[in-house]
């Protein structure tokens, strides 16, 4: 079971490395969106510090969503998805592997860059740590829930816009607790509570979402 998940992750990472443009463009999207906000809002440090958690999190959410339409589309187009669905193990395991791979190329880099971008907002060291930690813990849930949206809209016209419509309402708890963790740290309340709720959301969605996504993929393959 673990070897299968590892095999899927390895393959998807290899593919992502051969086609870096996707990954890089999502990261640049994140950087640009976050950097645009101070220009739009003005340079007052107090205001920026207050807005930073929300801005970083919304940008991370949008950047994650940017790469969702391709999560299954490539495998669907070239017939690999059929073969994966026909392999003698549950499709949910394969999807789990794909979700983890998606997080490794989309969520993880964002978490690593976020503290650097947080500097633009004059955040303290603890706040920067909270930014990294919350994005690190929260983005797997985004990949998991996003996989359901990607599977449901597989092969549809205007799939990209539809994904955002389906997935964004479901992202709200992650956004609330993610940005809340940073906010609580900034205001000195301590973000542990938020972070543990975020971790709970992530565990729940990593455990549950791949199976729902697998069911959606089977519907799409009929």
């Amino acid at each position: 079971m673990l070897t299968l998940i590892a095999a899927v992750i390895k393959r998807d990472l290899k593919l992502a490395m051969r086609r870096q443009a996707d990954m890089v463009s999502a990261i640049f999207f994140f950087i640009i969106v976050v950097s645009l906000f101070p220009l739009g809002i003005g340079p007052e440090a107090d205001l920026l510090r207050k807005l930073a958690p929300g801005v970083l999190w919304v940008a991370a959410l949008l950047a994650t969503m940017l790469s969702l339409p391709r999560l299954f589309a490539d495998d669907h187009r070239d017939g690999t998805l059929e073969q994966l669905a026909l392999a003698p193990h549950p499709l949910g395991l394969v999807v789990t592997g794909k979700v983890i791979a998606h997080w490794l190329v989309s969520g993880l880099p964002l978490a690593l860059i976020a503290p650097v971008l947080g500097l633009q907002f004059d955040l303290s060291t603890e706040a920067l740590l909270a930014v990294t930690l919350s994005i690190l813990i929260g983005t797997p849930a985004l990949s998991g829930i996003g996989a359901i949206g990607a599977a449901l809209t597989l092969g549809l016209r205007g799939g990209g816009v539809l994904i955002s419509l389906l997935v964004l309402p479901l992202y709200i708890p992650v956004l609330i607790f993610g940005a809340g963790a940073v906010d609580a740290t900034v205001t000195g309340l301590g973000g542990e509570g938020h972070l543990s709720l975020l971790a709970a959301l992530t565990f729940a969605s990593i455990g549950f979402a791949p199976w729902a996504a697998a069911a959606a993929l089977k519907i799409a393959l009929e």
Binding site: G159, L166, P169, P173, I176, G180, L201, A216, A220
Partner: protein, 248 residues
Amino acid sequence: MTDRFNLYRFSSPATFYPLAGAMIPYFVAVSALFGIAGLWLGMLVAPTDFQQGEGYRIIFIHVPASWMSMFIYLVMAFWAAIGLAFNTRLSGMMAQALAPTGALMAFLSLWTGALWGKPMWGAWWVWDARLTSELILLFLYIGYMALTAAIDDVRRADKAGGLLLLVGVVNIPIIYFSVKWWNTLHQGSSVNLAKSSMATTMLWGMLLMAMCFWMYSIAMALMRVRTIMLERERHTDWVKKLIAGDEK
């Protein structure tokens, strides 16, 4: 050799279509009766609220609309579960027939909520937990309708929509509690309605209006499901016969 589940017969469109047609007038009539009674009690008899004056009378539509918007989503999820489990054709049609009415209820809930909020809280919109959750519910309805509309194959549309509904139903409590919690953390904008002991006439008015909305929603869903049935079953003999009969 049809050893299918017995439900299948009842849920066969050919049986259900005339049945639905016969039931619609009754639901409309009952809805109208409840509406008249509710409005009479709520608008004419019920006393002034000592805190909110006459403005509170908006609850006679606001609360029923909010209830229905949530209830209809649950009913859709119920049909979705039936459809995915037993592969009945009717379930998907019912879910699709209910969705626009549910979305309208969510819209009415938001609209009346805003009109209530302005005099009571001084703002058309506050990021109150209930209003925010209702807005998200409206998005969920729109997402469902957009997804089913984007899929050409009706079977796939039913199944994919059903799956989305089930995922949504699991998420609604999580969304609701997270929004509620977020709201209490960011105090200031939220104005809690002081709990006033409601006069019994008000309560009755509200319940009657809720029944009116309920019956109305059933009538609308039945009307819509009949059209969906004709469209989807256009190649079957019973629809052809029916259509040919209409021609005369």
